[in-house]
Structure formats: C-alpha cells, structure tokens
Symmetry: C2
Subunit: 225 residues, 2 copies
C-alpha cells in the first residue's frame, strides 16, 4: 500500500516535528501492512530491518522466558512497536503480535536513521519516548514482582480502562492466558480472581466485554492486594 506521509492521519508525535520535505522523503520508504488477530508483526530471533509503527489496532510485545512467554506490554495506536529491539540489537529481542486487526507502518531503518540525524526535534522526541518507556517498564516490573494477583489484575484492568480504551466499558480481545502472562500468573489464577471481582461487584463481564463497576474498590485492590 502506497503511503503519503504528509497526509497521514496517524503521525507520531515525533513525526509531527518533521518538515514537509522530510515527510515526503519518508513516503517512498515506508510501507503499511495489515495484520489480523494472532498475526506475528515482529518475531524474536529474526533480523530487524525496519522500524515498525502501529497506526491502528492493538498489539502485544512479548518475550520467550525460560518457562513461559511474558507479555511485556500492550501497545496502542500511534506508537512505535520496536524501537529498542531495532536500535539496541541487530536481532529482535522480543516479538510483537496483533491482538486485533492492526495497521502497521514499516519504515526503512536507514531512512529513519537519516531523520534522526538531520532533525534534532525528531530525535529529541524519540529520546523522550524511549526514556518514558524505560521508566514505565521499571514500574511495571516492580508491580509484577511485588504485588499479589488481585492487585496486579486490578492494575491491569484500570490500565486498560484509563490508558488504552479510555472508557470503563471495553472489549479486550486477549485470552486469560495472555493476561496471566502479562501479570505473571497462571491462567487458572486469573480465572479465579476475575470471578472473585465479578462476585464482589468490582467488575462485570459478558463475553469479552468488561465493565468496571467500582473504581474505588479496584483501586484499593490494586494497593492492598
């Protein structure tokens, strides 16, 4: 699919710093691809040759751990999908998989490098985003390792509502096993705790749709486990 980056409605914050000329130099060097649920966008262990940018849909970043997969984070639209894995190592250190229909823009890595080189506003924004990403990953790791399952699940539900769907009613297209891999818990434990939350009136579920009913109680579960 041919791009015209200047008119792209999904530009990243960084790309908004680019001039018309720069955007036009970008157009012939990127390619938008559609993925459907379950499709692999980036595969751990393969060479990374492009910068991937998520235009629409949701994707998960995951790593093969020693015993099971760990879902590192859920990425929402208008975010780069693999900057660390693209610039940190020649070989992808993690995988990215679509969790619903996604449009991903693959940008030629040397073109991206040129932009970093020539436009300091652009590279500054990328640096800021990388820094924020790292802080977030520290924070997530602390939560993952210190809280118990009720707390971790409450966290994830609030994070979905606040930062991804911007609504207390949302439909997550991921399995309980995925959620388990995201919070470091077994699929069975996730099932049990979700049922507990429903029983106690913190949330309701119908199919894959989750409704947050009692934010206060959820926030308290997030704190006190």
């Amino acid at each position: 699919m041919k791009n015209n980056c200047f008119f792209c409605e999904y530009k990243s914050v960084a790309a908004q710093k680019l001039s018309k000329d720069e955007l036009e130099s970008l157009s012939p060097n990127c390619l938008t691809v559609k993925f459907k649920r379950g499709d692999s966008i980036i595969r751990q262990g393969t060479y990374s040759t492009n910068v991937a940018y998520l235009k629409t849909g949701l994707a998960k970043i995951h790593i093969d751990g020693p015993y099971h997969i760990q879902v590192v984070r859920i990425v929402k639209p208008k975010n780069y999908l693999g900057l660390p894995t693209t610039f940190g190592d020649k070989i992808n250190q993690y995988s990215v998989t679509a969790i619903e229909e996604c449009e991903v823009c693959f940008i030629d890595i040397s073109t991206f490098r040129k932009l970093l080189h020539s436009n300091p506003e652009f590279s500054n924004q990328i640096i800021v985003e990388l820094c924020k990403g790292e802080l977030e990953s520290y924070q997530k790791c602390v939560n993952r390792t210190q809280k118990q399952i009720r707390g971790k699940l409450a966290d994830v539900l609030l994070d979905f509502a606040d930062n991804i769907f911007h609504s207390d009613v949302f439909t997550v297209n991921i399995t309980q096993e995925d959620i388990g891999n995201l919070v470091d818990a077994s699929r069975e434990s996730v099932s049990r705790v979700m049922a507990e939350f429903v029983k106690d009136g913190l949330i309701s579920m119908s199919g894959k749709q989750i409704t947050i009913l009692d934010r206060k109680m959820l926030a308290s579960a997030s704190k006190n486990g």
Copy 2:
C-alpha cells in the same frame, strides 16, 4: 572540582563523539562530586536538574515498590546514571545510591540538550544506549519473575563476574538484603541459597569476597533453578 572534559579519562562512548570545541563547552557546565558508600546520588521524588554520569565506583538504581525497595540494576563506571529519569519525567522516578566510593559527574541538563541537538553522532549513541538499557530491563524482569531463587542468584553471580568485575574473584560491597532486592527474594532466602552454593562447591565466600569455583554448575543452576 573543576573539570576539563577534553582531557577527561572517563569519557562515555557518546562523549567520545564530541568535538574538541564541544567538549570545551561542556567543561564549565559539569561538576564532579565524590560520594561514599551509602550516599544518595539521585533521590526518587525530587526534581532532576542534571544528567548524572558515573566516572568511578559502583552504584545501584532502586525504586520504592509498594512493599519494599527493588534494586533495578547495578551500574558500573562510564555509564549514565539516570537518563530515563532525567528525560522521561521532571521528577526522578527512581533513586541511585553509591555502593562504594563513587565519582559522579553532574552535567547541566540544558548543556546536555544542546549537545544532543547539535551533534547527531552523540545523540545517536545515546539512543542506542537507551535502547540497550530497555532491552536489558525487559530481560531482567523476565528472569526475576520466572526463575526461582537458585536460578536468579546464579544469574546475578555470573553477571557480577562477567559484566562488572571481569573476574571470578570479586568483592561485592552490598548486603544480602540488597541482593534480595535485586533478585526479588527475602534476605533469609538469599542467605540460605548462598550457603547451599558454598556447600555444593559452586562458590566460596570469605567475608565479602566471593569466588566462583564451578561456572558450569552455576550456569546450570541459572537455567534449571
């Protein structure tokens, strides 16, 4: 203490990309400070006004978690101490503490920004380092959450030997509680497992000095728990 960055023998890989002029513009805008064991270099929750760079000594990066402190990583010389916390947020999102005598160079943040802006080689190197840092933190988090204590401790010991001290005999000036916070285990468990490793001949300890005796067994403990 007055600096002359051009002659500084501890320049970072990124700073090695700077011109003589740029280094001389840096000199009046940075300040080297000595810290002793236990001193706080960066404090979580305070404003970050400088980029901190570790010239000598070892430091630990740690975050106040909901229940206890988590040691995120040990930083060795010639590394920036708080790039993510400096550029990702106005307020420091983590603390850094000296674990032995340290020399830290504080660089004025706007000077650092100017260099990022004017020298693409420099900013590129910073980007690469940030990316590597994030990949490493992902990997560490997976290990921390999936392995059991024997495996995690074996990892840390090998990491110390390979990446920090570059020797199988080294003296770590950190307490078992710190090690516990680094691998997410209680101080008691660390003590027990270390004793196990000594008993089984994987390592020996005298005082704070640790000697790795059996790398193979340690590596296998790292894998199989």
